[in-house]
C-alpha cells in the first residue's frame, strides 16, 4: 500500500476492512482494567442482567475499531492524530466470538485553516458484524499531512 496523504481522500469514498473476533477472555481482560461493571466482567452476574450475558465495554469496541483503522486505513499514512469524535453510538452490544469488521465513509475533506501542509478528513466509521449488524458508529476527524512537494523533478 502506498503511503496515504490528505489528498488521497475524497468525499464519498467507502472502504470496508478488518476482521476481529473478540474472545470472552479479551472482553473481560479489557473491562477488568478499564470498565469493571458486572455485565462486562462477570459471566454469572451478566446472565441475570439487562443484556443477558457478557458484553464488551463500549470503549473496548472503540479501541478494536481503532486497531482496524490503523492496520488497514491509516497505518501507512501521514496521519497526525485526531481532534475528536462526534456522535459516538453503541448501537447494539458486542458479545464474545462475534465476527467484527469496519466500514468507513468520507464525509468531508477540509484543508487546515492556517497550515497549508495538512488537512482534516471527516469519516463516518462503523463497526459491524460479518452478517451486517451494526454495532457502533462514530463521526471521526483525522488530521493528515499533505503530499510533500516533489523535489528535483
Amino acid at each position: 500500500m502506498t503511503k496515504r496523504y490528505f489528498e488521497d481522500f475524497s468525499v464519498g469514498d467507502v472502504e470496508e476492512f478488518g476482521c476481529h473476533v473478540p474472545s470472552e477472555e479479551e472482553i473481560i481482560e479489557f473491562a477488568t482494567e478499564f470498565d469493571p461493571q458486572p455485565f462486562h466482567i462477570d459471566p454469572d452476574a451478566a446472565k441475570d442482567h439487562f443484556f443477558g450475558g457478557i458484553i464488551a465495554s463500549g470503549w473496548h469496541t472503540g479501541s478494536m475499531l481503532m486497531r482496524m483503522i490503523v492496520d488497514h486505513q491509516i497505518g501507512n499514512s501521514a496521519s497526525m492524530g485526531s481532534p475528536g469524535i462526534d456522535e459516538l453510538r453503541w448501537i447494539s452490544p458486542v458479545r464474545p466470538e462475534e465476527n467484527l469488521k469496519a466500514k468507513s465513509e468520507v464525509l468531508e475533506v477540509t484543508p487546515h485553516k492556517y497550515k497549508s501542509d495538512r488537512g482534516f478528513v471527516k469519516f463516518r466509521h462503523t463497526v459491524l458484524t460479518a452478517e451486517g449488524e451494526i454495532k457502533m458508529t462514530m463521526i471521526s476527524s483525522i488530521l493528515f499531512g499533505c503530499k510533500p512537494v516533489a523535489e528535483g523533478v
Partner: protein, 152 residues
C-alpha cells in the same frame, strides 16, 4: 453505600474525582494492542512527530477515564450502560507521567416513557491533568435504573 438511582441524580450536581498517572510503559502497551501509530509506540519516531515524544492514544485516555468513573461515580447496581457520547474532544496530548482526574456535571435527566423504571442522565465530563489543563472532554449519556416507576 446506598444505591444511587435515577431519582437521586440532580441536574447541576458536580463531582471531581480520580487520580491516574499514565506511565510510558502503560501508554506503549495500550497502543501496541489498540492504536499502534508511531507517535504512540515508537519513541524515536515520536521525537520527529508534531508531538515531540510519545503521547497516549485518545482511546487509552477514554478508557482510564471510564475506570475513574466506574470507581468513583457510576453505581454498578443501577447503571444500565450508555448508548454513546457526543462531542468527544482530545484538547491536549496526554504525555508519560501525566496525572489525570475527572470533573463531571449533570446537565439534564429524562425518565423513559416506554420504560418508566429507568431514565437517562446527560452529563458534561472533563479530564484534567496535573497542570489543571483540560485534556479531553465529552458529553456523556448514561442509562440508569429508577427506584420507582413514578415520576417525581
Amino acid at each position: 453505600m446506598a444505591t444511587r438511582y435515577f431519582e437521586d441524580v440532580k441536574i447541576g450536581d458536580t463531582a471531581e474525582f480520580g487520580s491516574k498517572t499514565l506511565s510510558r510503559e502503560e501508554i506503549i502497551a495500550f497502543a501496541k494492542k489498540y492504536d499502534p501509530q508511531p507517535f504512540h509506540i515508537d519513541e524515536e519516531a515520536a521525537k520527529s512527530s508534531i508531538y515531540g515524544d510519545i503521547i497516549a492514544s485518545g482511546w487509552h485516555t477514554a478508557a482510564v477515564t471510564m475506570r475513574m468513573m466506574v470507581d468513583n461515580m457510576i453505581d454498578t447496581k443501577a447503571s444500565l450502560g450508555s448508548p454513546g457520547v457526543d462531542n468527544l474532544r482530545w484538547h491536549k496530548p496526554v504525555r508519560p507521567g501525566d496525572t489525570l482526574r475527572v470533573r463531571t456535571e449533570v446537565i439534564d435527566k429524562k425518565r423513559s416513557r416506554s420504560r418508566p423504571n429507568m431514565g437517562t442522565i446527560f452529563g458534561k465530563l472533563e479530564v484534567i491533568n496535573q497542570q489543571d489543563e483540560v485534556v479531553m472532554s465529552f458529553n456523556s449519556i448514561g442509562m440508569t435504573l429508577a427506584r420507582t416507576n413514578k415520576p417525581e
